[in-house]
């Protein structure tokens, strides 16, 4: 019986970083094995040590990091302590790594061809042969017209194309182990789905083992066979993906799964559960269970004794004293909201947008960022805004707020037209419309303390000054659950979730009536995301504030939205109640978007591949702007005639030539009815005309 050595075998790995003269443990006795052809997912929130584990494998730890114990074997060879030639050999032949941001992984000043060819030249090929091989490598990752891509620079490619190139380079050497570190996190859902499909397909082609690092449980469910859950540098649970997701045995895994809005949960059904507390800081000595401080099940023993790895089944293990009760973890956040969330749509809408259009002029070209969007919003309502990047979501929000002046169209507040520019609006109107930005690092002035930021917003938005100011400040901070001691801190000293609370507090300083939430949770971990979503819903219930919620996470949008608007190339494609838009019949574009999202519960929808990428807004396609990528393209009528936005059923608007009944039939039958998705339609930078049957 000579079983081949597993591709990756990590045994009791300890990694420390030396910070300010002291060693801090980042990984604690991590052991995992990936056999040949297997895909192993590593999940956990940021700061858990996922990337450190990957970097340790390729010997690429930061200069202050080092392995203090344990072994790492790649295909049977010990790689700890390799240096010089041997390490180069390992990186050149056995292990490849793909990082999160493809734009940073490629050298901006070298042509794609030469970058990919380098992989072959290192192994001795001459330039012409290497370029030839590079072209083949690009073809393998389904890049259409690889010959022309060879001559381009990275900035001339879209994010999805760049990531394909990086994957092509990673696979060019036919590595034994491919490490993917959040490879799709920076990509749009539709592009993410394509890259994931590609990885899945290549994996079966190459028999490569994959270490897949991600915080997205849906991606894990779709991609991986086995999963390891990492917390504070310790592998707390490990097992087959189905078991981990359906029968988790560690309270951390249970908590993580509960944080994610899934299976069509909505805000009126109650709050999301959260994981209380914070990841222990690296300064803390952890002797007992690493999760004890945040665990609702923790007993005395958890704070004194380090739990061993309990075997639940042959391939499922959990590092919890109470693994049998893990799923009975009490909720950290009560489910009841206390206040009802009903929306009354009988009166004048709070906000009415008519024919909102924005054309940017850029080097003589006209970019149609927003084209005749009309919508209304009532007090206490949330309108979800979805669409790929470049679909006009952010421009729409900025035009409402007056940050960009629309080229055409009006914004009405309580039936009264607002001036297009912010500087022309009254302080009263400014107060009413606020925003919470995506990236709290950018949204908070890093030189000002939290107190200063909030004082100023109270002064400007609530016109409070003098002695009353401090009292209101404390009230405002407590309304967003921001502890008083954070008031003296500067943004840099706060975690992402706390920063976002400050940003929310600023928006709510003056009793706003509409708050635009521009992907407010996309930079946050799932447990923090759940807490922020709960906060937004609570504030809505208390103050009847309306939200425009922009997000690419459809689970989140569905959770928080009452109605959903789907934008494509600046045009409203579909608008309707959340349940209707999600359950269908929906616009073919919505259908494709929904099918692209990997869900924890898996399956359900057949994947609809969109041909190519979103066309340039400078030259939108004729007829229906979506016809170039539509899988239900009817041919001539779609190519020449723009369908109107009509109410296809009660309060459900859609812009499509296909009658709703027809769509209902088609979508019930499954998406394979009209355009059977060929296993791998090549994508290219330019939109391909969709083949019409």
């Amino acid at each position: 019986m000579t079983e081949p050595a597993p591709t990756l075998e990590i045994r009791n790995l300890d990694v420390v970083y030396r910070v300010r003269g002291r060693d801090r443990k980042i990984l604690r006795e991590v052991s995992l094995t990936i056999s040949r052809g297997e895909t192993y997912g590593l999940v956990g929130e940021s700061g858990c040590g996922k990337s450190t584990a990957a970097l340790a494998v390729v010997g690429y730890l930061a200069s202050n990091g080092r392995i203090t114990a344990g072994s790492i074997r790649v295909a049977g060879q010990d790689v700890v302590g390799l240096s010089g030639g041997a390490l180069r050999h390992l990186r050149a032949n056995d292990v490849s790594m793909v990082y999160q941001n493809p734009g940073e992984a490629l050298n901006p000043s070298i042509r794609i061809g030469d970058q990919v060819a380098e992989v072959f030249r290192i192994r001795g090929a001459e330039r012409p042969q290497a370029l030839e091989q590079a072209e083949k490598a690009l073809a393998r990752v389904q890049i259409a017209d690889p010959g022309s891509v060879l001559g381009r620079y990275p900035h001339q490619l879209s994010g999805g194309m760049q990531q394909r190139v990086v994957i092509a380079m990673a696979l060019a050497k036919d590595p034994a182990l491919l490490i993917l570190d959040e490879p799709t996190t920076s990509l749009d859902a539709t592009v993410e789905a394509e890259v994931l499909d590609l990885i899945q397909q290549l994996r079966s082609e190459f028999h490569t083992s994959v270490l897949f690092i991600t915080h997205n449980l849906g991606v894990i469910a779709k991609m991986c066979e086995r999963v390891g859950v990492l917390y504070a540098g310790r592998l707390v649970e490990e097992g087959p993906v189905k078991t981990i997701l359906n029968d988790p045995r560690h309270p951390y895994t249970v908590g993580l799964l509960r944080c994610v809005p899934r299976g069509g949960t909505r805000k009126d059904r109650g709050r999301l559960d959260t994981i209380p507390g914070f990841l222990p800081s690296i300064d803390q000595e952890l002797r007992a269970c690493v999760f004890a401080d945040r665990c609702g099940l923790a007993q005395e023993v958890c704070r004194t004794d380090e739990p061993p790895l309990y075997r639940i089944t042959a391939d499922h293990a959990s590092r919890c004293h109470f693994h049998e009760q893990a799923q009975e973890l009490p909720r950290a956040t009560p489910e009841e909201l206390g206040q009802p969330l009903a929306v009354d749509r009988s009166g004048t809408p709070l906000l009415q947008v008519d024919d909102l259009t924005k054309v940017f002029e850029q080097q003589g070209r006209h970019i149609h960022a927003l084209e005749g969007v009309s919508a209304a919003l009532w007090p206490g309502e949330t309108l979800g805004l979805v669409g790929e990047s470049g679909s006009g979501k952010t421009t729409f929000a900025r035009a409402l707020l007056g940050l960009v002046a629309p080229s055409r169209g009006t914004v009405q507040l309580d039936g009264r037209s607002l001036p297009p520019r912010l500087s022309l609006r009254t302080q009263q109107d400014v107060r009413v419309l606020q925003i919470v930005f995506q990236n709290p690092d950018s949204a908070l002035n890093r030189r000002h303390t939290v107190r200063r930021i909030l004082r100023r917003s109270l002064k400007k938005l609530a016109s409070i000054a003098g002695g009353a100011l401090e009292a209101r400040l404390l009230k405002l901070a407590s309304s967003v659950r921001l502890a008083e001691r954070y008031l003296t801190a500067r943004p840099k000293q706060l975690s992402g979730g706390l920063k976002q609370r400050v940003a929310i507090a600023r928006a709510f300083a003056g009793e706003p009536r509409l708050v635009v939430c521009d992907e407010p949770t996309s930079a946050l971990d799932v447990s923090v995301q759940a807490a922020i979503l709960n906060l937004l819903v609570e504030l809505q219930a208390q103050r009847r504030v309306a939200y425009i919620f922009i997000s690419h996470d459809l689970g989140v949008v569905r959770y928080i939205s009452d109605r959903i608007a789907v934008l494509y190339l600046g045009r409203l494609m579909e608008l309707g109640p959340a349940a209707v838009v999600f359950d269908g019949p929906h616009h073919p574009y919505t259908e494709a978007l929904l099918s692209a999202v990997p869900t924890i519960d898996g399956g359900g929808r057949a994947r609809i591949k969109l041909a190519g990428e979103i066309p340039s807004a400078a030259a939108p396609p004729s007829g229906c702007v979506f016809h170039t990528r539509c899988h239900r393209n009817l041919g001539e009528i779609c190519e020449n005639e723009e369908p109107p936005l009509v109410e296809v059923e009660d309060s459900h608007l859609m812009r499509c030539h296909i009658p709703i009944e027809e769509l209902r039939k088609l979508q019930r039958k499954g998406s394979t009815a009209m355009a059977p998705p060929t296993p791998s339609p090549p994508t290219s930078a330019a939109p391909l005309p969709a083949s019409s049957s």
Binding site: T274, Q427, V430, R481
Partner: protein, 292 residues
């Protein structure tokens, strides 16, 4: 996350001071910065107390002329019989008043123009940028000499001329930093509080572009010292009987033809060099620590 949660250790709160201390700590560990700072501190001390610590009166002409190096006159004496050593010690006084004031003027003017052009863009930006190009096309000394000949020279004119020539150069640096800052969401957020443009520029953006401004200020100080020394040498800067270094060189450089009286020129020249180099060392050290 609810507040019921145990607070993370109080370590977090003292981090503001830690961050500040870390910046200072990095500066203290930077040999470049420390070397420069020590030399500058020495010359500042001399500028203030030079006449008191000097062995002789720097203006006293009663000593033997053109004596070589000796115990009584460590750097020799010049052609009017003044002690070169005492004059070098006292010679930092005028230049260390004029150069920093000129720099300050340039930095303040440049910061204001840079903030305005970077924040508003548009026509103002286009016009100012072309003026900057024009100013950069002419050497500083040429502009300064022309103005000083036209207006007559006074210390104030020297300061104003150098400051005004620096203004567009500084504004260009500040503008570049502001262009990057104005894209950040906190600028939009403060507009959404209804803040006026001056508040956004000076209270929100300015603190965030201080690092490049501080570095630019030190670099400009080096150039200012250089410019003042050059103008003085040409007779447009510091006027006699000041023991100014450049003035000493101007007074004595003709003697170099004879070849034997090198001390009258070498020591003041070394003093100028040491000061300019020191300022540049400080600028380097600051740039390395702050621009991260």
């Amino acid at each position: 996350m609810s507040t019921a949660v145990p607070a993370p250790p109080a370590v977090e709160l003292s981090q503001a001071s830690i961050a500040r201390r870390e910046t200072l700590g990095q500066l203290a560990r930077s040999k470049t910065f420390i070397t420069g700072a020590i030399i500058i501190a020495f010359w500042v001390f001399c500028a203030i107390f030079g006449t008191k610590i000097a062995p002789h009166d720097p203006l006293d002409q009663s000593f033997p002329q053109l004596l070589g190096l000796s115990r009584t006159y460590p750097f020799g004496t010049d052609q009017l019989g003044r002690d070169v050593f005492s004059r070098v010690l006292a010679g930092a006084h005028d230049i260390l008043i004029i150069a920093p004031l000129a720099t300050l003027l340039g930095i303040v003017g440049g910061t204001i123009i840079g903030l305005v052009t970077g924040y508003f863009r548009g026509v103002v930006d286009d016009v100012v940028s072309r003026v900057v190009d024009a100013v950069l096309a002419l050497p500083l000394i040429v502009i300064a000499v022309t103005v000083l000949v036209g207006l007559g020279h006074s210390t104030l004119t020297v300061i104003v001329v150098i400051g005004l020539v620096f203004t567009p150069i500084v504004s260009r640096t500040v503008r570049a930093a502001v262009l990057a800052e104005r894209q950040l969401d906190y600028v939009a957020a403060s507009k959404l509080l209804g803040e006026r443009a001056p508040y956004v520029m000076f209270v929100e953006i300015l603190p965030n572009v201080m690092a490049p401004i501080v570095v630019e200020a030190t670099v400009r100080l080096g150039y200012a010292i250089f410019a003042v020394a050059g103008l003085t040498f040409l007779g447009f800067g510091v006027q006699p009987p000041s023991p100014d270094w450049a003035l000493q060189i101007a007074d004595n450089y003709t003697l170099l033809n004879a070849g034997t009286y090198w001390w009258t020129v070498l020591f003041p020249a070394l003093a100028i060099i040491s000061l300019v180099v020191a300022v540049n060392l400080v600028a380097d050290g600051l740039a390395r620590v702050l621009s991260r």
